[in-house]
Amino acid sequence: MTHIAVLVEHTSGDVRQSTLEALTLARSLGDPVGIWIGEEPSSDACHELGRYGASEVRHVPAPDQSTYTAELMAQAVIAAMGEASVLLAISTFATKEVLAYVAHRTGAGIVVDAASAAWDEGKIVTTQTVFSATWNVRTAIQTPLAIVAVRPNTTQAQASPEPAGAALVPVECEFTQPHTTVLSRTSVKQQGIPLAEAPIVVSGGRGTEGDFSLVEQLAQVLGGAVGATRDATDEGWIAHEHMVGQTGTTVTPALYVACGLSGAVHHRGGMQASGTIVAINTDPDAPIFEIADFGVVGDLREVIPATIAHLQGR
């Protein structure tokens, strides 16, 4: 069966949830093999990848920190993917750069931010949205190697009925001298689930008037991550990492709850492809209501506490 290479995202040695989604999708296309760049994966991590169908985990030791950039990551991916006919990864800014280098080196056709990928008459066909998620597009990749970056939460992760071996295969990579040097790298501590991967996102905007506590409480009750508009992060009401929108994080959760935000085009572009959209806003003409499945015209200071009370009261 044809090999589907999956670029594994991992944090502190743990496999990220989004990679399990990618493996689930990969199983529908062929035989998944994981590509692990960095410190050698633990047996637990390999076992986890095997549970989701990876027959191999191809491990490439990372180059040193100062040169650990997209350019060299791409060299590692190319060394590890071998004869795979599809390279699957999760769409993030960092991964898209890696894939751009891989596409350039291999001549492969590339689609990013895809919601799905399937074989159709011998070609990989993807679906994705463009123009701030107002259009749906289907694209066929024309090249023998297809590169696809999928958005988190677009496939529901399901363990394979038959776990695969996940054999650890060391891969050697001769890295070339990179064009750039990393002077410093600081990890950002993210509380809870990363925003881009969260299945539920509760966001606040101007309507919070600077107080995000209710938004945070609702996120906690629903088990979601906290998002914000550009206005809110610019005002310093909440850290920049929470910004949802075209220049912040693009999210596609199963549920998006928009609290006190109007839904400007820049914000909608970062969340419009979400599964279910709920909006709370005092202005009945707010554009967010045009894309909401359920909207409450009202003050979030009254609606959110009442919602929480009813959710907890059951």
Partner: protein
């Protein structure tokens, strides 16, 4: 120094438009320079204001794409190049990068290019692939998603804030730098600048002018092909209620019905 800023013409996201023959068709005035490219133009202008030199705005696309470089000139770009050729139609990102790289190389022959600046993404497709692909094509360093840029003695050093990591990255010039909207606040063109921009001639190049084989770009050379594009149907079955005291309860019930609580 000589800074080239790549700008893209994008359709107005608020207006009606359609895909036909796998391309976007537009009516006149139904589009403009990609908004995030304003930050790239601003960055380029700031560089030459600090270090001396000139800015060349570069775009690739059909006849209407000239509006993008015109906008860049209104903002203060000194020169403008528009690469336009029927054979470019249907190019994927690699084809576009190939054309832009060839245009930069052609500009180099006349005058050394120190930096190519781009926006972080174009608001139509939002793939963010082009800056990296362009750097790979030129075999130059890619310094992407910069929210701070320092140029000093033939080097560029940027700061970038990704969702999970903050990085400071440096590279020798020439380099491709993509900038975010956090880097600067774009200036507004005043009346004099708009009038002055009208008088500047835009250089138009065909593929032959920049030495690109037309077989290597366009639809037939593209690694991807759009099969179908449809406007997403408007949200149906919307339920919008006015809170008369029971808004929270009804929202909670909706969430339970949908299985979220």
């Amino acid at each position: 120094m000589h800074v080239v800023v790549c700008v893209k013409f994008v359709p107005d996201l608020q207006s009606q438009r359609s895909f036909t023959n796998e391309r976007v068709t537009r009516v006149a005035d139904d589009g403009s320079m990609n908004e995030l490219d304003e930050n790239a133009v601003e960055a380029a202008l700031t560089m030459v204001e600090a270090h001396g030199g000139e800015v060349t705005a570069l775009t690739v696309g059909g006849t209407d794409a000239v509006a993008a470089v015109r906008k860049a000139m209104q903002l203060g770009a000194h020169h403008a190049v528009h690469v336009s050729d029927d054979a470019i139609a249907g190019s994927d990102v690699r084809g576009t990068a190939r054309v832009l790289a060839a245009a930069v190389t052609t500009l180099q022959q006349e005058r050394h290019v120190d930096v190519v600046v781009t926006g972080m993404t174009a608001l139509d497709g939002m793939t963010s692939l082009l800056p990296t692909m362009l750097a790979a094509e030129l075999e130059w360093p890619a310094l992407t998603l910069a929210s701070d840029v320092e140029l000093e003695s033939e080097r560029a050093t940027i700061v970038r804030h990704l969702p999970d990591v903050h990085e400071e990255i440096t590279a020798p010039l020439p380099a491709v730098i993509s900038v975010t909207d956090a880097l600067n606040t774009p200036r507004y063109p005043n009346f004099q600048m708009i009038m002055a921009a009208r008088k500047v001639e835009v250089t138009t190049w065909s593929l032959a002018d920049i030495g690109v084989d037309s077989a290597r770009v366009g639809r037939d050379a593209a690694g991807t092909r759009v099969l179908e594009a449809q406007i997403r149907p408007p949200q149906e079955n919307r339920e919008i209620i006015h809170d008369t005291g029971d808004g929270g309860q009804r929202l909670a019930e909706f969430l339970k019905t949908r299985g979220f609580a």
